[in-house]
């Protein structure tokens, strides 16, 4: 549970809270890492004797993969931020995900990401997509190229950051609008059910999306038709320059979903194992025909709403705190307090504590990831720019449309 500031409030009686592991892993979480997954629903997808701490059953390599994914998202952004600050030729912009990495990572770890398109789960990102994309498994070099508008980018330079997508890994992508993506995602879930597939559709949407009228359409129809849809609400407390209390009367947005009779949970979005636990439960329920789930991950973004090339530190569009004279801005202490619970640190500490990784090995992995990302940027930024005339392609499946700009 959380108060309206999003601070986690300890409530030891919560049935969904991480119990002491009975498994092989020595379990000794630091107080600072404790997260609460509070069940708001009476409906559970737990088998007999299942305590819902699914992360305990994950093999080591899968756990390490989650750590690696978090690092990839983080270092993709830090490398990109460096480009924005230092490279005058760099053109990509981003809505940074730093601080939220454990959400996308924990959710996507519970999904089917490999295989033919008719079998994998689909992810809709709506907005702030690069973290979701990496977690779903897109090719990072081509994503980097796309964000710099290169011809060989993931979408040929047509999309750019706000609209990246790669259906081949089930990443249907972002549309950047606040509203439509969840409804469209529910349509994919509808198709799965109609054709008897056990695939699942997942949509990531921010706290800002709550106010959009589409929120109601999505949840109402998902519930009525028992659709295999998982709505992941990333509540990072703000939309642009306003605290979510300006647009939402609920403290937990999950309460809004629970009102429809949808199993709904809040979870500590900074701890990837907690996120994985609730995602696993939702995915199992959806595959078994049990219908939709709603997950509210309490999380925080470290940087400004967005970052752009030519950024200067401390200015809007760079990576400091939002400097505008605004209705409701983020207090510096709030930012700092959240940074104390960094998803990278939490994931690393858990793995080290569980004896999965030595501290040094964890640092080595980080160095590997850094190098991998550096190589991705090097490749991407040497790719060709787009051919102007290609703008007339892909309007329809076949052919091109005529140029009209010359009369």
């Amino acid at each position: 549970m959380t108060d309206h500031q999003g601070n986690l409030v300890t409530c030891p009686e919560d049935e969904g809270q991480a119990p002491q592991s009975e498994g092989r892993r020595g379990f000794l979480k630091l107080a600072a890492l404790t997260g609460a997954a509070a069940s708001l629903s009476t409906r559970r997808a737990l088998a007999n004797g299942d305590i819902g701490y699914h992360a305990m059953d994950l093999p080591d390599d899968k756990l390490v993969d989650m750590y690696r994914t978090i690092l990839r998202i983080r270092w993709h952004e830090r490398t990109q931020a460096d480009q924005m600050l230092a490279n005058p030729d760099y053109r990509g912009y981003n809505h940074f995900y730093a601080g939220q990495e454990a959400v996308a990572t924990g959710v996507c770890a519970a999904l089917r990401n490999d295989g033919p398109f008719e079998q994998i789960d689909l992810v809709y990102s709506s907005h702030r997509p690069s973290g979701h994309a990496i977690a779903k498994g897109v090719d990072i070099p081509t994503m980097v190229a796309e964000m710099d508008f290169r011809a060989t980018g993931m979408n040929g330079g047509y999309a750019a950051e706000m609209h990246i997508s790669d259906p081949s890994v089930g990443f249907i992508g972002a549309d950047g609008m606040i509203g439509p993506a969840p409804v469209i995602a529910s349509g994919s879930a509808f198709a799965f059910r109609a054709r008897g597939s056990d695939q699942v559709a997942v949509v990531f949407a921010g706290d800002g999306n709550y106010a959009a009228p589409h929120f109601h359409s999505t949840l109402n129809n998902a519930k009525l038709l028992d659709l295999p849809l998982i709505y992941v609400c990333e509540n990072n407390l703000y939309h642009q320059y306003a605290h979510y209390s300006y647009s939402c009367p609920h403290k937990d947005i999950a309460d809004a979903a629970a009102a429809y009779g949808i199993p709904s949970r809040t979870v500590d979005g900074q701890d990837v194992t907690q996120v994985y636990n609730v995602a696993k439960e939702a995915v199992d329920r959806a595959r078994a025909g049990g219908g939709p789930s709603f997950i509210e991950a309490k999380t925080y973004r470290y940087y400004n709403h967005w970052g752009a090339p030519g950024a200067k530190e401390g200015e809007l569009g760079a990576f400091g705190y939002d400097p505008l004279a605004i209705t409701s801005f983020r207090p510096e202490r709030e930012v700092r307090a959240w940074m104390q619970r960094d998803p990278v640190d939490i994931a690393r500490n858990i793995l080290v504590d569980w004896g999965i990784l030595e501290e040094q090995k964890a640092l080595d992995i980080e160095a590997e990831v850094k190098a991998e990302i550096a190589a991705a940027f090097e490749w991407a930024l040497s790719q060709p720019l787009c051919t102007p005339e290609d703008g007339l392609k892909h309007v329809f499946a076949e052919g091109t449309v005529p140029a009209r700009q010359f009369g």
Binding site: I184, S217, V395
Partner: protein, 323 residues
């Protein structure tokens, strides 16, 4: 071949395609997809294909329009029948997502999706919020979506087959005033292409261009004018996007006179685009447009029927242009 109503012809096509493709779904709102026709079996998609594939929703056209798009993106062909465009909710997702997605993804997104959208309000008594004939212009303006507007049961069936088979998203406009038309329609499946206008009558004095609900009045006027000896060429656009410029320009190059007829608002009705394309490409031609005035359709039949273009007004405009 049997004489068939509009809706029976359309559902015949849908039924055929749903039998061929078990993933194809149909979403409707309250009024079930049922049609009957003398001497033909009743078509009831809901009972034939079951409620997992043929779904009755609440009054949420936004969901209907978005859901079929999501289905298409998940690899299932999907169609929906939106009985009221009034609230314009579907336009949002069709304009801003469906129409842009293939291009924006660099060709990666596939959207085998059809929206059947009723145009209501150009028959007397509707008025106000229940009048939505401006859809043709809205959908014609946006790229990436094929927008068609069949005006006969034969075309309605053939274009439905083509639409359901198309890899492109298709907005299939249905002028509700044509509900009562019947004609001989083959029982077998066939396609009418999604990019060709139809020359309904050939002539060399004057080209009249219209579409959808405007066609019956145009054909009636053409009969009268032919009786007076005027060589009228009548073109039914059928397809608003991509408009078949060649057929239009070829005709006007011959007749040197173009009259367009629209049942929706004059300003930026499809006729504006027809005139503009011909004016760019044919020198020395003369142009005239007949359209509904730039006023919402009123309820009173006296006001409404005077404002809606009819055969007499069309014939008068034709005489003024040719004479």
């Amino acid at each position: 071949m049997t004489e068939k109503s509009w809706m029976y012809s359309v559902l015949e096509a849908v039924q055929h395609e749903m039998r061929e493709d078990p993933a194809l779904t149909w979403i409707f709102e309250l009024t079930p997809p049922v049609a009957s026709n003398p001497n033909m079996p009743v078509i009831n998609l809901e009972t034939e294909f079951g409620r997992k594939r043929v779904v009755n929703t609440g009054i949420d056209e936004n969901w209907m329009a978005s859901a079929v798009l999501g289905a298409g993106l998940a690899g299932s062909r999907a169609a929906t029948y939106i009985p009221y465009q009034g609230a314009l909710m579907p336009l949002e997702v069709i304009q801003n997502v469906a129409g842009k997605l293939r291009h924006m993804t660099g060709g990666k997104a596939a959207m085998p999706v059809v929206w059947v959208i009723e145009m209501t309000g150009q028959t007397p008594g509707f008025a106000g919020q229940h009048s939505c004939y401006e859809e043709d212009s809205f959908y014609m303006h946006i790229p990436g979506v094929r927008t068609v507007i069949p005006s006969t049961p034969y075309d309605a069936k053939g274009m439905m087959h083509a639409a359901l088979r198309s890899p492109d998203p298709v907005v299939y406009l249905y002028p509700a005033g044509l509900r009562t038309l019947t004609e001989e329609v083959p029982d077998e499946p066939y396609e009418v292409p999604l990019d060709k206008a139809a020359v309904r009558i050939e002539g060399s004095d004057l080209t009249i261009v219209s579409s959808g609900g405007g066609m019956p009045g145009v054909l009636e006027a053409a009969e009268v004018l032919k009786g007076e000896g005027m060589g009228v060429e009548v073109i039914d656009l059928r397809v608003l996007k991509e408009m078949d410029t060649e057929t239009l320009v070829t005709s006007v190059a011959k007749t040197k006179r173009l009259l367009t007829v629209d049942q929706s608002y004059y300003t930026l009705a499809p006729g504006a685009e027809v005139v503009a394309r011909c004016a760019e490409n044919v020198e020395g031609a003369r142009f005239k447009r007949v359209a509904f005035p730039d006023a919402p359709p009123p309820a009173s039949p006296e006001m409404f029927l005077w404002m809606r273009p009819n055969a007499e007004g069309i014939a008068g405009a034709a005489r003024a242009l040719v004479g």
